[in-house]
Amino acid sequence: MMSRRGWSTLVALLLASWPIPAAAQAPQTVSIVPVQNLSFGLLLPGFQNAVSIGDVSRRAVVALAGNGPVDIAVVLPTALETTSGDRIDLHFSASDAALLSAAGSTLSPLDPRQINRVQLGNDRTVLFVLGGTAQTTAMTRPGHYAARVALIINHPGT
């Protein structure tokens, strides 16, 4: 049977050798702030209309801020629709997304059809931009067509 002094010594040795985190791990946060919607504008029936990622007035822009690696997934609609069900087909290509610095310089081209892993750093804000192509036909009726694009940011654990 160990003495009380012996137990105290043993516990002290265990605590000294056991790797205990110095503080609770700070939670990693990522923020998403929608800045601008994807706007094809006023279209005539029967024409294809593309918005490039360089079209500053019509491309979608989302501000991202945080630290560390994040996976960006975009849920892309297949069409714009009116409330009565009329549709305009939408198409997205591998060159229809990019990550920009807050100053506007391109950090990385992104394929919006894939999950893209990017590195965020030092809580610096970067911009996710999205373009696309709307295809009307001569039968496309006049009206307002809309859809929702969802952005899912996953901050994987370490």
């Binding site: 919607n37 005539l44 029936p45 609609p77 305009i88 039968m139 009726r141 952005l151 899912i152």
Partner: protein
């Protein structure tokens, strides 16, 4: 000894670091487009009787194209004086017209109720897509009508198209 093991196990449980968990957030943006209303007259083709020998009948046709992707109501704001021709010394000449709309510039498929009355003369529904049609006027002058003071007789056929 068993007590010692239990204490050691308790110390180990307390010292285990917490497991980090993945964080996922979502946001959304809107995508939109507006399809324009197409509704415009094109260049007209004049109704020209040409050089008419006095005392002989004459006919002529003219049209104006309209492109639209909405419904339309056609009316004639001048009513009874639609397409009235005025010549020397204010002499007037009123041709008789048949009028209406067609898919080509030569054949009327939807006739106006009247070619010399005010008010709505023809209402057409919205097409499934952009459609190009022609408002056609066919005019005729009788032999008696052309037996008048020689000279140039001219006028305007005014047609109003209202989106519907």
């Amino acid at each position: 000894m068993n007590r010692s093991i239990r204490i050691l196990a308790l110390l180990g449980a307390i010292a285990l670091p917490s497991v980090a968990s993945a964080q996922s957030i979502t946001g959304s943006i809107n995508a939109s487009a507006d399809i324009a209303t197409v509704f415009s007259f094109g260049a007209p083709s004049a109704l020209n009787f040409g050089s008419v020998t006095p005392g002989t009948a004459a006919t002529a046709s003219g049209y104006i194209p309209l492109s639209r992707n909405i419904g339309v109501i056609y009316s004639l704001p001048d009513g009874a004086t639609t397409g009235l021709l005025t010549g020397p010394s204010a002499t007037t000449l009123q041709p008789t017209y048949t009028c209406g709309v067609g898919a080509t510039n030569s054949t009327i498929t939807s006739a106006f109720t009247s070619c010399n009355s005010t008010g709505n003369q023809l209402t057409l529904a919205a097409p499934t897509g952009v459609t190009n049609e022609f408002v056609i006027f066919n005019g005729s002058l009788s032999a008696a009508q052309t037996n008048i003071t020689p000279g140039n007789y001219a006028g305007t056929i005014r047609i109003t198209a209202t989106g519907n």
